[in-house]
Amino acid sequence: MVQFIIRKIAAGLVVLCAISFLTYFLLYFSSSNIARNILGEYASQEQVAQKETELGLDQPLPARFLDWAGHSITGDFGRSWFTGEPVATAIATRLPITLTLVIAAILLIAVLATVLGMAAAVKRGWIDRVVQTGAIVGDAIPGFVLAIILVTLFAIQLKLFPATSSIAPDAGASAWAASLTLPAIALVINGVTGGAQQVRSAVIKQLERDYVRTLRSRGIPEREILFKHVLRSAAPTGLTVLSLQFIGMLGGVVIIEQIFALPGIGNLAVQSTTMGDIPLVMGVVLYTVVIVIIVNLLVDLINGWLNPKVRVS
């Protein structure tokens, strides 16, 4: 078990290094005019040259990357080139918002998808048809269209929720809830349908299996069969879908954050990338990759716990 975790983490670190270098490599080519963008249109050529030396832009690519990597390993991610804010602070203030949103959405999706998927698989009939129809609609509508519909309906016309949110550090839980509800709903509608479909298919397949017939013939109540046995077998599929959705959501949340003006990681990623603020972009990429690795590891562990056949000995 411990070996398994160590191996996964090692693999994750390799991925981290590869992605870091790849990202840095791509950003390198866009950084030719950074100094001028930072200093503004009216800076003189000498000022621009001075800034370039200060930021290390005149160094060759490997030297710059190793310099950044060396600092990052010690925890020093540098400062934003444009605002001077430490990268770690910028991310630390924004990550909680995105993570809260995404985790809340994922938990809701997990619960709803399981309930809907199982209801569809077991009851069939009209529930099944509703779930399947909803799947088409939910998958087809892009996240940002949903977000706009939700904002227009609930925030502007019905005025039940705020249209944009600035979640101040001292805002209470109710302010957080009010701000994150509509974005979370947008994410959930998009994701729950795919998840419900997967759960439904997996559960249907399990219900056709021999062991279910055996359990029924032994007189075990249907509910116990469903929740204790079938769900455990259907779980791996569902969890895989869920983890994929979580990772996809980290990227997809960008547009949602733009529309609701949430000060989250997505917004930071967009702004720093368009401006070419390399320390910030690298910081965002790093944190995202780490989160993805952790999520993958957790999913593997949960899968292993639920289903002994999956465990690697």
């Binding site: 605002t83 519909i149 309906l153 705020p162 733009q258 000060p263």
Partner: protein
């Protein structure tokens, strides 16, 4: 794919959702503002965040209100452009306009208790010059600052600067407490003498800044609210939603989103700040020899149907023009505004006279946001025989590439400032938007007249305007409207030549 019941159900669901939201936003207008006390708080949105509260990071245009709330400037620019006393109660120039003496008011204090005195002003101006922030060009002509007595400062310029008083109403004029200058804390905790104080506990960097009334402020007339909140909403959809749902009282929109705001009962305040067109940089023919011929450049000016483009691309929000100087700049020449009509035949004739009856090829850059416009411009230029090649440039590199002289011409939009500001922006040999440093004895002499013109600078700039328009240094197309929408709870006056109103221009509606 068969359209069975499932697809039909999906279609019905989707159209129902859209229909619900399509129900016009009319009638849900934000606070009618009558039958109750006037509002005591102001919430507005800006297009972006400010880099930091250090005055050296201040920049003209959109981010000014963030600083104006906490810092006073040495002089204040009224909404109509008049320069009036602020921290400097009196000002006087010497005979050759190289020494500006400011007598400071004695009752202004920073929020940390230190008085606003000559030493503080000197510390600020020196720091602004040394820190080389984005707007350091504003003090380019400043040679030294002397403390004459505790409430008098004498600023010596190395050369006359017709725009210097204007700069003292902008970034260069912000005065922060000398104890805070140079400390890292000033970036997040401004210490100024302005009408409001920053409430750091409720502010979130990159998202919103909350200011509360400064109880010791010396000018109660400028304090119209108890609380001011400025949100950073770069996305125009978010901005529109916030405005229409009543979350904010004012924001800048564009012609298309403006319609939604109007439907919701918001009030439009229009002002022309920018001119938009094609800058014909290559007047010496370094990249395109053809462009060195004035007839070629004039031909380009005759090629565009300004009115139609304005109506189609900007829903008519603006005024066609042929000159780069604005109506309120003092260098405006009314007759020049329609100097170049839409006349493709004349354009072709001019090209033939210049020796290019078959036209020529011109490469210009394009970036996100200009694609549709550049497509139209290419079309209209090809109608007179000029084959346009568009080269896509990343947005972040656009200004840099233009400034590096990579292109003979480029589509762009610039704000129309005071004449000396505009000349240094795009006409003088050191101007950023004159990458090939085009000049000749005639224009150099006219520019120099403005330089030393003192109070007549603006009037003398008319000659510069006439020269660059007749010689087609640019192909101006139109002046564009800034469309500022406000709720009925507040009133606002546009600020001359500034992208957004100054913080002083807002007031509660009666």
């Amino acid at each position: 794919m068969k359209f069975g019941p499932k697809a039909a159900g999906a279609a019905i669901f989707l159209s129902a959702a859209l229909a619900l939201t399509g129900c016009g936003g009319g009638g849900s207008a934000t606070g009618s503002g009558n039958g109750g006390a006037a509002t005591t708080s102001l919430t507005i949105a800006e297009l972006g965040d400010l880099p930091s509260f250090d005055p050296v990071d201040a920049h003209i245009g959109h981010t000014m209100p963030y600083y104006q709330a906490v810092y006073d400037t040495l002089l204040i620019r009224e909404a109509d452009g008049t320069i009036s006393p602020m921290l400097a109660a009196e000002k006087s120039w010497n005979a050759d306009n190289t020494v500006l003496t400011l007598k400071l008011r004695t009752d202004a204090k920073f929020t940390d208790g230190t008085p606003v005195d000559a030493a503080a002003v000197k510390a600020n101006l020196d720091h602004f010059q040394q820190a080389k922030g984005r707007d350091v060009y504003q003090v380019a002509s400043m040679a030294s600052v002397a403390v004459v007595d505790p409430s008098t400062v004498a600023i010596t310029l190395s050369t006359p600067d017709p725009a210097f008083e204007y700069y003292l109403t902008q970034a260069a004029g912000f005065v922060a407490s000398p104890k805070a200058i140079g400390t890292p804390g000033i970036k997040t905790d401004p210490v100024g003498s302005g009408p409001y104080k920053l409430d750091t506990a409720s502010s979130v960097k990159g998202s919103q800044y909350v200011y509360t009334k400064n109880p010791d402020y010396w000018n109660k007339d400028l304090q119209k609210f108890e609380k001011v909140t400025i949100k950073s909403l770069p996305d125009i959809t978010a901005r529109t939603n916030a405005l229409v749902s009543g979350q904010i009282d004012g924001a800048l929109l564009d012609p298309k989103t403006g319609k939604q705001a109007e439907g919701a009962g918001l009030v439009l305040t229009k002002s022309e700040v920018d001119w938009h067109g094609i800058l014909l940089y290559d007047r010496d023919g370094k990249i395109n020899p053809e462009m060195a011929n004035v007839k070629v450049r004039q031909a380009i000016n005759y090629a565009f149907d300004r009115k139609t483009i304005l109506d189609q691309q900007f829903l008519g929000q603006g005024t066609p023009t042929s000159q780069v100087f604005g109506p309120d700049s003092g260098a405006f020449v009314a007759d020049l505004d329609n100097r170049y009509s839409y006349d493709p035949a004349k354009a072709k004739q001019l090209l033939a006279e210049a020796g290019y009856p078959e036209g020529f090829t011109l490469k210009i850059p394009t970036m996100a946001g200009f694609e549709a416009l550049n497509a139209v411009y290419s079309q209209q230029l090809s109608d007179i025989g000029i084959n346009v090649q568009l080269e896509s440039v990343p947005q972040a590199n656009y200004v840099g590439d233009m400034a590096a002289g990579k292109f003979a011409a480029a589509t762009f939009q610039l704000y129309q400032g005071e004449p000396w500001v505009a000349i240094n922006q795009m006409i003088s040999t050191s101007a950023l938007y004159n990458p090939f440093k085009s000049t000749n004895p005639e224009i150099a002499a006219l520019v120099e007249e403005v330089h030393v013109g003192g109070e007549n600078s603006s009037e003398l700039a008319k000659k510069v305007n006439t020269y660059v328009t007749e010689n087609a240094w640019f192909a101006p197309l139109f002046r564009l409207n800034q469309m500022y929408y406000t709720s009925k709870k507040i009133t606002v006056e546009p600020q001359l030549q500034q992208a957004v109103p100054s913080i002083y221009n807002y007031a509660p509606a009666k």
